[in-house]
Symmetry: D2
Subunit: 339 residues, 4 copies
């Protein structure tokens, strides 16, 4: 029998992408889509690509409406999920939160980077970090899954095998990431208008982006390494996609074989990670897919390993990974609805 | 001696383009830039490309501040210019309005298309339509110049020679225009955000765009033809530029020579109109310039003449043409500051 | 049991899109992919998005290799399909040709617009035009299906109901279409390079594009109307999608209801045509789908009906429609593999 | 009296940009434009934006034709300039080469990165590196000026003040650069076609780009530092512009004031370098200009200084800088023709 699913915050880009994936997922039925600001509108009014595919109407959220659902996805801006998650957890619901509210353990760290207090910090310790390639055992039994940040996914997948196998130094990890504009969400601002964002590039939040502590926390939790990273995101004029170029220092002498073995060890069975050798990946090869493509090179001249990774920020960086987590949680095929 | 110039509404795209052109114009000095919403900000804070080029600071507008200026440009949204123009005219100032408030004679027509009343209709009859290639004599002596709409410029320049020489029928004139997103101004809306406007096209205001009556009025006033036109604008994912494809019916049998002669007659001395024969023009050839490139073809199979024209909407479609009008008004070289 | 399918010309954009669709089609197996210029290369070498999805290798074509296939798709440039189709037909194979070689009946018309002779004109009369919404009965029993041109699909779907119901005049039909650059195929030329095609627009082949006679022929064959149309395509800086704005004259007085009824009559059961009323469609709503969205308006001021339609040129304009034809031909669900 | 100038290789993007700048330069006259592959074509045929601005016709190059010129710009692909420079130098002509042939001293290093031999290595020692902010004294008296690489300009300008003041370590310098597609020149390849380069990003030549040794050589020659750098360029879907993000390690404890003083010391009088503090620059602020905007931050958490710089690759990264060099060479105002 199909699982019943609802989405809170379904009118944003991640929510809409989630709806798109779930509508063609063989094992679930979407019961309701919540979006307070668009309540009363049909999903296909806001997103006409849904015409003839669904008649769902956005509703105002209340907990009674999801009481029979098997799982609730939350795709709200940071600071909003923490308002609805506690009551859902308390009544025993399964929750996957696509936002940043439950990814860090430390409420003070959260406050420092997200610039507001955490009002549900009691639930932080329950949350399981939803990076399927690295945390599947916990995900399978989790009640509250914190879906990773988009940039973070693109950084952890290439780094973790090297971290776990202790092939790199903890110092000097440097990450230059490029993101398409949809990463900023379905939001209105002059900076994100076409005329301003087209034909240009800008770095933003250099070194202070909220994904910085998330990367560091998970390098520790999943990789066992204490480190400080430099993370610089850039906004580029494409709609979808993230490109991360990562520079690390090998720990002593590290061979090509050692690196290959590390990736082989962790990703040989991972359906959504594609190792492409020393070639540089391209965003277009993963757009509209749940894949992460990773290429790497030992750069002996300057004693570095250089890693490149690409994902679609709305799929592997958000909705697709959330569905992958759901698949693990419910024991569906890991790739169900995602190929 | 240089003329003193100020700009009201200098913080929008047309205003900023105007400032850029005027700063390198040999015969004028920009005294002040007004922008109520950005008052107190430096121009190069809002538009960092001005860094090191000007120290001007946006100010709140008041008439006292422009009392010594020789000419005031107005680049405000429709409905706003009509609030400041009367007092400026009354104290004898020269005004060039880049907006739509003084382009039509008929306040009822204005209200029908602009969706608000005209509160300065008494001044409509004073306004001279600022299409330099067709109205230079009046422009030279005008106190109030109504700078043409961007689409309208791209339509009138190819059509007027054929209209004036009575080479085309008044019925069935059909115009399909494409505009870059900057045509919508420096405004904030979901529809104009990069993620929404990129990699797509949409027609908008099909048949009801406010430039429709402007085209019809000027075909009459400057060309002597009473007609109804179909005008359909489309939004395309480029920042700058307008492409107009225009379909008309020849009046009886019209030869290639007749058309060539018509264009030659009106544009042989026009520095900013480039006739390119039967080739189709391209937006990139006129970007950041004040040129209008025009190509045309007699399409005998379907008894039509097909015209293609391109302009940069912010230059020949707005700020550049405004400066061209100023050049005529003050007896500067027509191309001063524009090549 | 699954049908066996091969693709000749699989390395171009239409061929690769076809492969993508067929790989996830429940009722077929792709046996071989032919691409002489890339023979020996893996499909995922040329198109890395196929990594981990298929191990198929491009091969040189020979008829022996397809002898056990149930259907062969051909996605070759015009002039090439005519070299391989005759032998395939002669041995009794089912063929769907995505190119232009078998869409017109008249070899002289073909030569006039395609600029080379037709060397398989004997087979022209066998070809069934593959517009599923209008020709399904013939498609179901056809051996050779000529898949429609991309522009043509975007024009016929909105026009045919009005033509068939005799609601419009045969004279003065005017079509302004915009196409993304992938419409030009995976080809190399300065004009199609990013630096040249970005941030610009150009009309091309004004009035002489090879889809002109195809539109006229099918308006006659499927709609029963003899007419001459003006068709002007424009190249715009997006990768995928076609936008067509079509201007026609109503035959006498035509009501909104009559038009609505016409569309209802022909498309109420059509899974891939979405009528969206008087709204203008947008390319993004159909990208990566097999839908055609159509909006329309009676424009009484100038006695016209204005139609807007959008498709993805590689899906409904090529590979998707080809699969829709295959679905009809083999009695699969019409939407199999396409939603 | 105006200086007479000709351009060899005028049909590429750098050559055409050079022509555009020189046509409006007050102190020079362009006598001839050479482009063997386009010989006989008018410049405005290949680049229609030149219509009505110049009647110059591309010619086949021969040394006799430039014998009366005061200076010859060369904008040829690497490997080509070395064929014409020797004879020009030998007859005493002033030459500014925009390509890479005369930027390195060491012919073996040239061969290693450019993949062909240097056939004019005798002239390498004569060449003066044309970075005006750092080498003006030599430029003023140089016969042969090697105009810097585009990426290199964007890297040296932010780095050199810190290098010269010994504020950074020589180890671990890491550069992630993004370039618009025009950086690849007016060349034809599938990879650079719109459909392939749009809506994507790829790193290329990771660590092996030919600008790597140029950066290292000039950090030494102009900055006095021996170092190895990691340089990773990425291709992004814009036409013009370079964004460089540079990560370096401070030498001991370095204060904000020290860095500010270093930039002040070298750039307070530099008309084309704009220091923008800790803000991140944006490509759009320098497009179509000769400016380099630089922002920087001390990132104490990870013991780094992070620098961001932007230029227009065709202006400050090529033609504009070449004209700036010419201005110095001839004693014109440094900004003549460039504002």
């Amino acid at each position: 029998m199909k699982k019943n699913i609802s989405i809170i915050g379904a009118s944003g880009y991640s929510g809409a992408e989630l709806l798109k994936i779930l509508l063609r997922h063989p094992d679930v039925a979407v019961t309701r889509v919540f979006a307070n600001s668009s309540a009363g509108k049909r999903a296909d009014e806001l997103y006409p690509h849904f015409r003839s595919l669904t008649g769902l109407v956005f509703e105002e959220y209340s907990i009674e409406k999801v009481i029979n659902d098997d799982l609730i996805f939350i795709a709200l801006p940071s600071g909003e999920a923490m308002k609805v998650v506690p009551s859902l957890i308390d009544v025993g619901k399964n929750v996957i939160d696509l936002g940043g509210d439950f990814r860090l353990h430390d409420p003070l760290l959260y406050t420092k980077y997200y610039k507001h207090d955490h009002t549900a910090s009691r639930y932080l310790s329950d949350a399981v970090y939803g990076l399927p390639e690295w945390n599947s055992a916990n995900i399978r039994s989790a009640q509250l899954i914190a879906n990773p940040g988009c940039y973070v996914t693109s950084v952890l997948l290439p780094l973790l095998p090297l971290v776990k196998e202790e092939l790199i130094e903890t110092k000097g990890i440097t990450i230059s990431s490029l993101s398409g504009v949809s990463g900023a969400g379905r939001s209105v601002s002059i900076d994100l208008s076409f005329s301003e964002a087209n034909e240009t590039v800008k770095a933003y939040k250099t070194g202070i982006h909220q994904h910085t502590p998330e990367i560091e926390t998970l390098l520790h939790d999943l990789g066992g390494m204490q480190s400080t990273v430099t993370f610089v995101p850039h906004l580029i004029p494409i709609t979808r996609g993230i490109y991360s170029s990562i520079f690390v220092t090998p720990r002593g002498s590290v061979s090509k074989d050692q690196i290959e073995s590390a990736f082989e060890k962790y990703y040989s069975g991972a359906p959504f990670v594609r190792m492409i050798g020393s070639a540089a990946p391209e965003i277009k090869h993963v757009q509209h897919t749940n894949f992460c493509d990773i290429g790497w090179k030992i750069y002996e001249r300057n004693n570095q390993i250089i890693l490149h990774s690409v994902i679609d920020n709305l799929v592997k960086g958000a909705a697709g990974q959330a569905v992958q987590n759901m698949n693990l949680r419910f024991g569906f095929g890991e790739t169900a609805g995602l190929l």
